[in-house]
């Protein structure tokens, strides 16, 4: 696979790896085609302007080099951002920060962005806050994909 220097560097030394104890939100997503799984944890705090900000973010990923690198790059991009801005992170932002991705691996960057959306959804849901319609739709899709992966991996007794 022809990976960029940045991808390999993130893979070699991924940033923000691990769990957050008592997170404010968790996003769990999976890719139903290749089977990769990504979990993103966030801790949310108010800033001076009373906006919700991602104070800390960590990830755990089962997947290929690109899946690990996009997870790592995404956490870098999201850390310190307001939830509003974090929700605006696009797959292309992740790809650009990695100096490009092989075309067959673009879906990994989508998975990373989705994992963050899910973590933010989880936070908003738990706090009983207003959830944008677009985010609700994304959430439904993510749940469905996880269901499909589970089904595929079911042990036959």
């Amino acid at each position: 696979m022809n990976y960029s220097k940045e991808v390999l560097e993130h893979f070699r030394n991924p940033h923000n790896v691990g769990k957050i104890e008592n997170p404010d939100g968790i996003g769990k997503v999976g890719n139903m085609i290749c089977g990769d799984v990504m979990w993103v944890y966030i801790k949310v705090k108010k800033n001076d302007k009373k906006e919700d900000v991602i104070q800390n973010i960590k990830f755990e990923t089962f997947g290929c080099v690109a899946a690990l690198a996009t997870s790592s790059a995404l956490t870098d991009l999201a850390k310190g951002k307001t939830l509003e801005k974090a929700l605006n992170i696009k797959k292309d932002d992740v790809i650009n920060s990695l100096g490009g991705l092989p075309s067959i691996k673009i879906h990994c960057s989508i998975l990373a962005v989705d994992a963050l959306s899910e973590a933010i959804y989880d936070y908003l849901f738990k706090k009983g806050k207003n959830i944008p319609e677009k985010l609700q739709l994304k959430h439904k899709k993510a749940l469905k994909e996880l269901e499909i992966i589970k089904e595929k991996n079911k042990e036959e007794k």
């Binding site: 290749c34 990769d36 290929c64 595929k152 079911k154």
Partner: protein, 386 residues
């Protein structure tokens, strides 16, 4: 970047220096066309004939039964399509297994589109076809059974002789793809009841771009390449004399060293398997513990993904291979590991180490030394655990 430990011999092998030396005269010194009537041409023809004789002897065939091609892929295409078209009047049914190489699978799928009927035999947890099922699948329309000798991913060696016997009794052609086994397993086409056999030079320390097809005398088969009538009219194209001479030399070396080399490789293989299963929790062997190629180790590690493992090894200068979906062009998990009943997440963590002529004890030591750290690092990042 060059890998300092190469454990991907099943993908391809380096050309043995003795093979290179044998080939060199045929590039510029004796470069003539074997079809030319002048002295140089006849000299090239003589070298071609000698190579053919050597290879024929190696598998117990007649010289007239060896057809040189450009690759195992070409040979396999020639068998399936050539037998199908030449025997249409007898029947339209072909039997293969679910773990064949893509060039068999895809040729069969193409024939299916042309109206032929294809049966794909399931395999058991080790990758063996069921002989009773094979026997039951053969019907009066069946013209060909094609079952590979040894599998390229998990190394499982099929009971070829028994399969051939069933085909012989039923009067259908039996083809085996021996790309992985020639040079590692003894092959005698007559004793093993084989009608057609595929092999490739680059899997046994010969050059790339040379394959062969053994076609038993009297077999009805149509060519794919029409032209000047080379290779008994079955494969027109100017002969690749240098490559074929190299193939023959490679076979000659294997013939002399096979028994000893197999013993050596089996020892290394068994040490690697035992070491991995002992050192890594939640790892398991794919394929059969003993009925496997002397150089094949295929293991799966739960909770980690194969491409990530492969690249971690690559960082350390070790070349290996994986059946993970993430590493394939179509993002689909290995069809072989799927066929032996593994779940997608088990296939994701599969890794193939294939050993060869230059693999040493120290290489195995090194793998066993670094592997636990690599797996542990990736498992720490993984959200999926026991």
């Amino acid at each position: 970047m060059k890998n300092k430990i190469y454990l991907d011999y099943a993908a391809t092998t380096p050309v043995d220096p003795r093979v290179v030396r044998a080939m060199i005269p045929y590039f510029s010194k004796n470069f003539a066309n074997t079809m030319s009537l002048h002295g140089s041409g006849q000299e090239a023809k003589k070298s071609l004939d000698e190579s053919r004789k050597l290879i024929a002897d190696f598998i117990g065939a007649k010289t007239s039964e060896i057809i040189f091609t450009s690759s195992a892929t070409e040979s396999n295409n020639l068998v399936l399509k050539g037998i199908a078209f030449a025997n249409k009047s007898r029947g339209n049914h072909i039997i293969i297994s679910t773990i064949e190489h893509p060039c068999i699978m895809e040729s069969a799928a193409w024939l299916e589109k042309q109206g032929f009927e294809i049966s794909r035999l399931n395999v058991d947890q080790y990758g063996f076809v069921n002989l009773e099922e094979l026997e039951k699948s053969i019907k009066k329309e069946t013209i060909l059974v094609s079952i590979m000798h040894a599998n390229n991913e998990i190394g499982t060696i099929q009971p070829i002789k028994e399969i051939g016997k069933i085909c012989k009794e039923k009067g259908v052609y039996f083809h085996t793809d021996a790309a992985q086994s020639l040079g590692k397993e003894l092959i005698d086409v007559n004793k093993m009841n084989i009608d057609l056999l595929t092999a490739s030079a680059h899997k046994l320390y010969g050059p790339k771009g040379v394959g062969l097809l053994f076609v038993k005398e009297g077999t009805r088969i149509e060519p794919l390449l029409h032209g000047g009538g080379h290779e008994s009219g079955l494969r027109s194209s100017t002969c690749n004399v240098a490559g074929i001479v190299g193939f023959a030399k490679a076979c000659e070396i294997c013939k002399e060293s096979m028994e000893k080399e197999n013993k050596r490789l089996k020892k290394l293989r068994n040490r690697l398997i035992a070491g991995i299963l002992d050192k890594i929790d939640d790892s398991f062997l794919n394929g059969h513990p003993t009925e496997r190629l002397s150089n094949n180790v295929n293991v799966a590690f739960s909770f980690v993904e194969g491409e990530s493992l492969l690249i971690q090894f690559d960082f350390l200068g070790v070349a290996v291979s994986t059946g993970s979906a993430c590493s394939s062009k179509k993002l689909t998990p290995s069809h072989v590991l799927t066929a032996i009943g593994l779940k997608p997440h088990q296939i994701q963590g599969s890794l193939r180490f294939s050993l060869g002529r230059w693999t040493q004890d120290e290489d195995i030591d090194y793998i066993l030394k670094v592997l636990p750290g690599i797996v542990e690092k990736l498992r720490k990042i993984s959200p999926i655990r026991r």
